[in-house]
Each structure stands twice: as structure tokens, then as C-alpha cells.
Symmetry: D2
Subunit: 139 residues, 4 copies
């Protein structure tokens, strides 16, 4: 994958205030495949002390979005149309990690899936998402 | 709705570190209907400065979960099985607000929907979710 | 709603071999709101004798698709991008009925929801769907 | 996989009037993995002559449901709680084929995914589904 493609993703990631807030990090960017991690902290928990579903979902969504963006023109922007997540088990441990990949890249819409893993490698969530490529035209 | 039912939801909400982090607040709790709000801040944004989809999703999920919990026995706990969200327009403004309601309360599973609104009252997201009632038995 | 808009939906419905096979019928077409019914028969059942989830889903999908199409230009075609369905209770009785409505009509994508009811008026399924408007450009 | 486990699935499949109607066939049954096929015919089409989304969805749902059932006790029944499907490309050709597999088997809930392929091996749809195990207790 060329550097320009990767760079725009690194730059876009850096603009997301919410990801900074979460301490999320971009682990790897390949064509159609993006990996993101997020460390545990008390301020990311739900009522039982596990990672909040909203945190798990956020990094899965971001992994899908950037996986899709790697397949889009350099001047394009990506937005999430919709996603669906199944929560497979409580997410605990020191960090979670999401791997998003492209299932089908289209001119306008790209379908992705993501798995989120805990720090023992167990799957904690599974996402299926639709991303839209925005150039000059709007949704 | 009796006070014990409402109290447990207020208590559970207070235990969610992530909601404190987001500054989310419980606006109202009725039988099968829960409303939650979250103020805007730079650390909740995506790359274009709008509310991050993960924030929108979080408050919709929490509104669904507690709407479901109001219909469950007092000693029960609620967990999210899965949800699906469509993002209808960018979420901007000073705050977003989610209204979660029960579509069908079951002994084990409860199906909910939520709409998230921006501060002008426009719908920014629509969720359909499945919640599970946990007592002594596990998923 | 003008007649040309309604007519194209009646014509398109008539071209769907699968709907004929199911005996599905278009009950009403309004701007952003379409109603479809499907009679019970042994060849639409799952293993317990209820309406098959696939039948319930089909009429919900078609109701969403045509509700979306009423908001699109006359030369446009509609395709289903994705949908999610929750099954609320077993669907029995002499017929099921789906009401699809537009939640948000966009230039390219339209988000719809549908409820399916049994013949006593009970909700048996709830769908949230994304439809795409196809003109000259492809997905 | 033992014969009793496989037999109950073959028997249950045979009781589904809708699958007979569609001409669907069980291609293979393994632990957590089920494959189903459905031949093309004019009465399974949507308005453009492709396989109807409802047919694609039906065989994906059935493949997920029986994949889940292989992991459940012999006296259990399986019902679909919900599913989400993304349609990746129009489904044409002489037959479609769905492969359903278990992502996470639980005591009560089992999460599955399925891909549907056309007769050239291209993916036409992707499903993520939740199944429930019914014994004496109800949903």
C-alpha cells in the first residue's frame, strides 16, 4: 500500500478527538485491513467493570471505516452508514483490539466486518458494517 | 413506576465509569422508556468535528438497556446481546439525546428501539437492540 | 401522491416472481408508507408450523423498499443495501401484514423501518433497513 | 458428529414447508457448520430477475439456525432471535448456496454468521445472526 494512502488514515485518525480521549491507537493499516487497540481504564467501564459496549463498538467502527477508506480514492472521505454488533462475551483485561476488514468494496458503498478481541485473544464482539464513500456528492 | 425500580437504574447508571467520562445524564426513567443526554465536547468528536458515532451509539445502547431493565425483576441485571444502528445525519450542536423504549419485553430477551436526536430535535440515529435479563443463569 | 409514482410501484411489484409465488399483495401505497400482506399456507411454514422467518422478512423488506421508492425520482430503481430484523413472537394466523415507512430519505440512501403484524394485530417482527437509489450510477 | 445430532437436523429441515416450496436442500451438516443450496427459478425472483433478497436471506437464516442447533442438546429446539444481512451484489445464476457457522455457542444464545454465494463462488450476501436454544423454558 502506498504511503499517501496510509498517511491520510494516520492523519484522519489523529483528528478524532474521541479516539484521543479513549487512548485508542492505530496498530496497522493494510489494503482493506486495519487494526486498532484501546487500553483499559476505569473511565471506559460499564456497571460491572468490563469495557463498555460503546468502547468496543467505537474501535470496531473505526477499524471498519479505515479499512474501507484504504480502498477509496485519495480525495474521498468515509462515513458510517450503519453497523450491527453482537457481543460475544464480557470484555475484560488490559486492552481490547479490533481488526476491521473489507468484505466488498464498491464505488459508493463498502461492506466491512470487524472482530474485537480481549488481551487473551478471545473474541468479545463481532461487527458487520456499511461505509459510504463521500466525494463531492452527499449521502 | 415504583421507586425501587427507578432507584436501581439510577444506581447502575452511576456505576458506569464510561458514562461519567462522557458526562452523560439520565433525563427520565419510566416503565419501558428511558431518556439520556450527552453534552458536546471536543473529546467526543470524529474527524469532521461531529459527535463520534461511538458516542451516539453509547447513549442509545444505554437508553435501550435501562428501558429494558425497567421491565425486569428487581434482582435482575441487563446485558446487551446485540444492536444495530443507522446513522441518519451528522450529529452536531451542544448535546445529543437518546430515547430508548421497549418494543417487546420477554422473560429472557427484550427487544428495544432508540432514536437519538440533536439539539434541534432532528433524528441523527436509529437503533434496534436485543437485551438479555440475567438472574442466576448465564448467557 | 401522484398516479405515476404509485403506478410504477404497482408495476414493479407485479414483476417480482417471488411475491406472486408467496401470494403477497400490495395493500396501500402512500408517500413514504407502504403496506403489504401475505396469506398463510402450509408451504410458507417453518418446522413448527408458523410463518417462516424468511416470509416475514420478505414482506418487511418489500414494504421498506417500496416506501423508499415513493420518495425517489420516477426513473430511479431501488435496491436493498441491508436490513436487520428482530423476531418478536411466532407468526401464526391466516395472514401477516407489513407496514414499511421511511425514517430518513436521502438522495442516495434511504433508511426505513417496518413492523410485521399477525392477523390479531400483534407485532411479530421489526425491521430496520437501508435502501439505495439507483439511477445511472452503480452501487 | 454423531448420527443422532445430524438426524434431528435432517428431520427438522424436512418439516419446513417453506424450504420444500423453495426447493432448498441440505448439502452438509457438521459441528457448527451447515451448508444449504437453493436452485434458481422464475418464482424466486425480484423485479430485475435476480434471486429475491428474501430467498437469499431464508437460506442464510436456515444455515445459521441449524449450525447453532448442532451445538445444542438433542432435545432442544432453535429459534431465530434476529439477524442482519448485507447484500453484496445481485444474486444470479443457476443456484445460490449458504454456509452458516457458529461464532460463539452459548447455553442460551448462539451467535452465527453466514455467507451466501452464487454459482460462480462470488459472495452475494453476508449475515450475522442470534439464535436461541429452547428447551422447556420460553423466550
Amino acid at each position: 500500500m502506498d504511503d499517501k494512502n496510509k498517511d491520510r488514515i494516520v492523519r484522519s485518525f489523529g483528528k478524532q478527538g474521541f479516539l484521543r480521549f479513549l487512548g485508542a491507537q492505530l496498530l496497522s493499516v493494510e489494503e482493506g485491513l486495519v487494526e486498532i487497540t484501546c487500553p483499559f481504564s476505569e473511565d471506559k467501564t460499564q456497571q460491572n467493570g468490563y469495557f463498555h459496549a460503546g468502547v468496543t463498538t467505537t474501535i470496531a467502527d473505526v477499524a471498519c471505516g479505515y479499512a474501507a477508506l484504504t480502498t477509496m480514492p485519495l480525495d474521498a472521505a468515509v462515513l458510517t452508514v450503519e453497523f450491527k454488533v453482537n457481543f460475544l462475551r464480557p470484555a475484560s483485561g488490559s486492552a481490547i483490539r479490533a481488526i476491521g476488514k473489507v468484505l466488498k468494496a464498491g464505488k459508493k458503498l463498502t461492506v466491512c466486518s470487524a472482530f474485537v478481541y480481549d488481551d487473551t485473544g478471545k473474541e468479545v464482539a463481532s461487527m458487520q458494517a456499511t461505509m459510504i464513500c463521500l466525494t463531492s456528492t452527499r449521502i
